[in-house]
């Protein structure tokens, strides 16, 4: 079952902040965040592993709440280059100890940043 992302779309002005949420109905081993620009391949942003960690990358950070099976992506002081569709990919706790890196992706959140 696909994780659910919210919101579906968000429009910002440069410098504003945004939060994108990813919620799963299954126990998770990891959450992967990607950004895809129109006509291009999804580009990896960051991985969060079970254990409730938080990561940051420049002005983009993310958290993973293992108990709630949720992850959030935080974009602060947004730039025009942040525009694109953001996907979370979730990796479940596979039987036998491995999931072969199989990810289930959310439906995507379209982020538009205006000058």
């Amino acid at each position: 079952q696909q994780p659910v992302q919210s919101p579906q779309a968000v429009i910002l002005r440069e410098g504003e902040d945004a939060v994108i949420n990813c919620s799963s109905s299954k126990a998770l081993y990891s959450v992967h965040w990607y950004r895809q620009k129109h006509g291009e391949a999804p580009v990896f942003l960051m991985i969060l592993l079970k254990g409730g960690e938080q990561k940051g990358h420049d002005k983009i950070s993310a958290s993973f709440n293992e108990k709630k099976q949720q992850s959030s992506l935080y974009l602060t002081a947004s730039q025009l280059s942040y525009s694109g569709t953001y996907f979370c990919g979730t990796e479940g706790l596979g039987a036998g100890g491995t999931s072969y890196g199989k990810l289930t992706f959310g439906q995507g959140t379209i982020l538009t940043v205006h000058p």
């Binding site: 696909q2 990891s30 992967h32 291009e40 391949a41 999804p42 580009v43 990896f44 991985i47 592993l49 996907f87 990919g89 491995t98 072969y100 890196g101 199989k102 990810l103 289930t104 992706f105 959310g106 439906q107 995507g108």
Partner: protein
């Protein structure tokens, strides 16, 4: 840098034709994946492979098959293309034994397939 390439960026085929989509990765990755991407639905897994000649069905395997004869190459086959298979197809690969304890999937540029 990991490089995943796909044989075509754009492809137009007729209903009933057999279609081959090729994907090649140069990082010696064990895992390879085929997705289709449709507006509002995100990326949905069609098939994946964790080793040569090994394959597993994903969430939407109907109407598709795959082949992995060599580690670096993973092919998606549409046995008899239909109009509802018009979509963007993305290939990805990942390591089964990542150095850092976790690895992600690396995507190719995609093939936009139109079935008329």
């Amino acid at each position: 840098d990991v490089k995943v390439t796909q044989s075509s960026r754009y492809l137009v085929k007729r209903t009933g034709e057999k279609v081959f989509l090729e994907c090649v990765q140069d990082m010696d990755h064990e895992n390879m994946f085929w997705y289709r991407q449709d507006p509002g639905l995100g990326l949905r897994l069609i098939y994946f492979s964790y080793d040569v000649k090994m394959k597993e069905k994903g969430d939407i395997p109907e109407g598709y098959s795959v082949s992995r004869e060599k580690k670096e190459r993973f092919s998606l086959i549409l046995e008899s293309a239909s109009t509802n298979q018009t979509s963007m197809y993305l290939c990805a690969s990942s390591s089964q034994f990542p150095l850092a304890g976790a690895d992600t999937q690396y995507f190719g540029p995609g093939t936009r397939l139109t079935v008329l």
